[in-house]
Symmetry: C2
Subunit: 140 residues, 2 copies
Amino acid sequence: MDGAIIFRQYLKRKNLRETVERRTILAEVRSLHKHFTVDDLQFRFRKRRRTVSRATLYRTLIHLVESGLVRKLDLGQREAIFEYQFNHAHHEHMICLKCGKVIEFTNHEMERLQEAACRARRFRAVRHYLQILGYCRGCR
Amino acid sequence: MDGAIIFRQYLKRKNLRETVERRTILAEVRSLHKHFTVDDLQFRFRKRRRTVSRATLYRTLIHLVESGLVRKLDLGQREAIFEYQFNHAHHEHMICLKCGKVIEFTNHEMERLQEAACRARRFRAVRHYLQILGYCRGCR
DNA sequence: GTAACTGCAAAATGTTTGCAACGAT
DNA sequence: ATCGTTGCAAACATTTTGCAGTTAC
């Protein structure tokens, strides 16, 4: 199933409207295929002489996160980082403190342990991430 | 070995001075035995008619984190959360989105997997945390 | 036609910084 | 005496919000 349809259904369910801005933002996010910030989005729109206000970007991202199409990472420094995640496998992150590079990796055993830990504590997880901050091969 | 001594050594090594404020903040942090925010600290000092400025709290926390005595968690919402971690085993966090409760747990196998992942990618980790956001037993 | 949405600018939030007075060494 | 430290207030960076005009339904 397509991300655009998921979003349409989400909007309908919440009695929200499908506007040009919301469609444009989702399309941009899907075309990015990597991590992005609110600034990144705004810059890309401006380059194409298509402006969407900062407020609308923030407001729409809240909905995209809520609909499950986008994941928000809080790395603590500077702005929040987002990524389109529909149909992508859940993955973990290593972030280089020097060059900012983000290394993604998947580990099924780690996934399994996380699920087991939640089950043992009757915790219903809605979002989880492992973040490893440090220095990558080139920067160490 | 004692946290106060570790901090003293750290300060000396960095050519920083051991002031009343720094000693007071570390003592408070150690006596807390749980997660805290900058606001929490300021409030506790004010209650005891002992004021330490916000700027000094922020500046001292940077040193405490750097010295390894305190860990900073970026949960993305609102302010940063800190915890005294000297002599505590590294642990993971589950955070309840409704009641704010923080459940800590340790899993050696998970630790091992994290270390292996870093080794495989020649990544030197300085800080890593697994954060699971969701709903705890009482709030689900 | 109604209620939601947008852009703007202002406000709010959390953190950092410049500076003059102060204090540890 | 020197140079790091403090508190204050101002600056900063990011995100949120109030409002008046606009648009989807």
